[in-house]
């Protein structure tokens, strides 16, 4: 679970030109994905989590986007920022697999699902011929094996189905087959279950976990759903304002969040097992990426904020827990300020003076 770094992202900056100036969507993000682990990248709309994924894959549309000089993405030491499109094409769907929220938009509606899985298998040479077996027969057999492996019943029959003939959950299974058949070292899963019903989500998460165990694939899971994070991740990165604001192993993060934004999220989300008298509110909303607040980007929404927060806080290791935990908050230096403030405290009802 805590193997060697496979994928290292260093000082990643991805900006987009807008009428209001540069939107600093990803603004100095560093992390690593290790062998076999599930690393969750969690945050709300506009925090930069999906742009981080696109940047890793070399899929940022340029213009209006650009990955700034000094950014680095290394896969087993090989630099991907500035790599040739040919090489990136090889890596995408090869060493780095991808699945997205809506498989319908990633699948081609005019080809059968068998055809599309076969194509992935052919392109990445991820099949082995048995004695006397033709190349195309081997590809077809491998395709059907994969369809079965991801839980598609009657795979020989479904091989000939078009995407629209399958349910959302089945289409996501097809995407998983396409992504994992190439035996990627890392799977980037961007909100893979967000469009699915909750019972289907549970099935897909279970499937991903069991394939991960079998194949040893590392997963970079991008999600807004804290429950999904709690149940699937080994480590968590919390993003806000284009930056990582907290990094921690999953259990400590949920037990004792250190960054005020993480704390706010955990108090704001309804809990199936405990009705809260009142949900905590994080006041206001996420600012535009072309106009991040000065200093700490969470400052205008933070119940602890004081003068020092006009200076940007660094991402530092929490005092007691060593380098596995980091957060970007001046409270690490002035912990006494936590007392008596925070998101557990009652808030004023809306509409009252």
């Amino acid at each position: 679970m805590t193997g060697e770094p496979l994928l290292e992202v260093r000082s990643l900056r991805t900006y987009f030109a807008t009428e209001q100036g540069d939107a600093r969507a990803v603004d100095g993000v560093s992390f690593e994905v290790r062998e076999g682990e599930t690393l969750a990248l969690v945050g709300e709309s506009g925090c930069g989590k999906s742009v981080t994924a696109l940047s890793i894959l070399g899929l940022v549309p340029e213009p209006p986007g650009r990955v700034l000089p000094g950014s680095s993405v290394r896969l087993r030491g090989e630099e991907l920022v500035g790599a040739s499109e040919t090489r990136l094409r090889e890596i995408r769907g090869g060493e780095i697999g991808m699945i997205f929220q809506e498989p319908m938009t990633s699948l081609n509606p005019v080809f059968t699902v068998g055809n599309q899985v076969s194509e992935a298998i052919r392109e990445h040479q991820s099949f082995a011929r048995r004695p006397g077996e033709s190349r195309s027969a081997a590809i077809r057999r491998t395709t059907i094996e994969w369809l079965g492996r991801v839980g598609i019943s009657e795979p020989e029959l479904r091989h000939g189905y078009y995407p629209h003939q399958l349910s959302g959950g089945m289409r996501q299974r097809v995407m998983i087959a396409m992504a994992l058949s190439a035996r990627p070292a890392v799977l980037i899963a961007d909100e893979p279950t967000t469009a699915l019903d909750v019972t289907v989500q549970a099935q897909i998460l279970r499937l991903l976990a069991s394939l991960q165990e079998e194949l040893g694939t590392a997963i970079l899971l991008i999600t807004h759903d804290l429950g999904v994070v709690a149940q699937t991740a080994d480590r968590v990165l919390v993003m806000y304002g284009g930056q990582i604001v907290e990094e921690a192993p999953v259990a400590p993060l949920f037990r004792e969040p250190r960054h005020p934004y993480t704390e706010g999220l955990l108090h704001a989300v309804p809990d199936l097992y405990r009705r809260r008298a009142r949900l905590a509110e994080i006041p206001g909303s996420v600012p535009h990426a072309a106009a991040w607040p000065e200093g700490c980007r969470f400052r205008p929404r933070c119940p602890y904020a004081w003068e020092r927060c006009f200076e940007p806080p660094p991402l530092v290791a929490g005092s007691a827990e060593g380098p596995a935990r980091q957060d970007r908050c001046w409270l690490e230096e002035e912990p006494k300020r936590r007392a008596g403030a925070g998101f557990g405290v009652a808030v004023r009802p809306a509409g009252s003076p």
């Binding site: 909750v198 019972t199 999953v250 704001a268 199936l272 097992y273 009142r278 949900l279 509110e281 509409g351």
Partner: protein
């Protein structure tokens, strides 16, 4: 308050069937509603939950009178909708308001929020023209927006603010009941909390009732007094929220609850092997027997589940379940 209050709106054996068309064939979606009976009382929140295609939104449309039922009836304050006079119908249209997932999807982008609210007030002749600006300011304050929001256009607002405006529009006509169809499912967690708190505050202040339609069970836990769980167009369980979440009776309710990822990380990474999780996905409900039977992890051995549709039985006061084994 789950009982005792007067009934505002009631469904009796509400049914909506669509002719089996090409869409039903290819997507296998279950759009019909079959024999739904429920009551929404004063000052309560009744949640209608279920997954895509379970019939919850169709039930809402039938309750609002936006679609005619194929069978059964809707009663407002004890009178069938079809029997209401034109004047009474206007009262019904005003008393029961709808809040959408994205209220602005259906709004004129060229109208300021103030003009939009003024239009609503004018249509229902509730407030004399001279008093309207005052009432608009009051409504905006009620939903936690500044008075200057009246001069701005829909696109100038964030998702959470738009939902506040949607609520203000519903409140403008002083309704008794708000039907909220997935009102927070498009919102980020931090904004979702703001809107859920707002709805709770408004209920306390104005004595509103809500029919809250949602797929997110944690959200339902937070807001509901009573919960109706739908599957395959039918109610399979109906109970007080605390009872339903503490001790679900129907296997589908159990499956839904088991499928929600908990906010407590497991000790070690474990395979999610909960036996109550169903296999497969929502399929067309079979034409006889229990609608959940094809996916049920624990059906009766003697074929009772397929023999006939189980009745929705009241096991204890206010505790209904449609299952021969529960």
């Amino acid at each position: 308050m789950s009982s005792g209050g007067n009934v505002i709106l009631e469904a009796r054996g509400l049914t909506r069937r669509y002719p089996a068309g090409r869409q039903a064939e290819t997507t296998g979606s279950v759009r019909a509603v079959e024999g739904v009976s429920l009551r929404i009382r004063e000052r309560e929140t009744l949640a209608l939950v279920g997954e895509s295609g379970c019939g919850k939104s169709t039930t809402a449309r039938l309750l609002l009178g936006l679609e005619p039922p194929s069978a059964g009836e809707v009663r407002y304050r004890g009178r069938e909708l079809g029997a209401l006079s034109a004047a009474e119908m206007r009262v019904f249209r005003r008393s029961v308001q709808l809040v959408f997932q994205d209220p602005f999807a259906s709004l004129n982008p060229r109208l300021t929020v103030g003009s939009m609210l003024a239009e609503v007030l004018a249509v229902h002749e509730l407030v004399p023209r001279a008093k309207r600006p005052e009432r608009i300011a009051e409504l905006l304050k009620l939903v936690g927006l500044d008075a200057d929001a009246a001069n701005r256009y829909p696109h100038e607002f964030s998702g959470g603010q738009r939902q506040r405006i949607g609520v203000a529009r519903a409140l403008a006509v002083e309704p008794e009941l708000i039907v909220a169809d997935e009102p927070v499912s498009a919102l980020d967690v931090s904004i979702q909390a703001q809107v859920l708190n707002l709805l709770a505050d408004l209920q306390a202040r104005l004595g509103l009732s809500y029919l809250f339609i949602a797929h997110d069970l944690a959200v339902v836990r937070q807001v509901a007094d009573r919960v109706a769980v739908m599957y395959g167009g039918r109610i399979v369980e109906l109970a007080r929220a605390d009872e339903l979440f503490a001790r679900p009776l129907h296997p589908y309710t159990k499956a839904l609850l088991a499928a929600v990822p908990s906010l407590r990380p497991p000790e070690a990474r474990r395979r999610n092997a909960d036996p109550s999780l169903p296999e497969g996905e929502v399929v067309d409900a079979p034409s006889f027997g229990c609608p959940f039977y094809p996916r049920c992890p624990s059906p009766a051995k003697d074929g009772e589940c397929v023999a006939a549709l189980p009745a929705l039985e009241e096991r204890r006061a206010g505790r209904w379940v449609r299952c021969v084994k529960a």
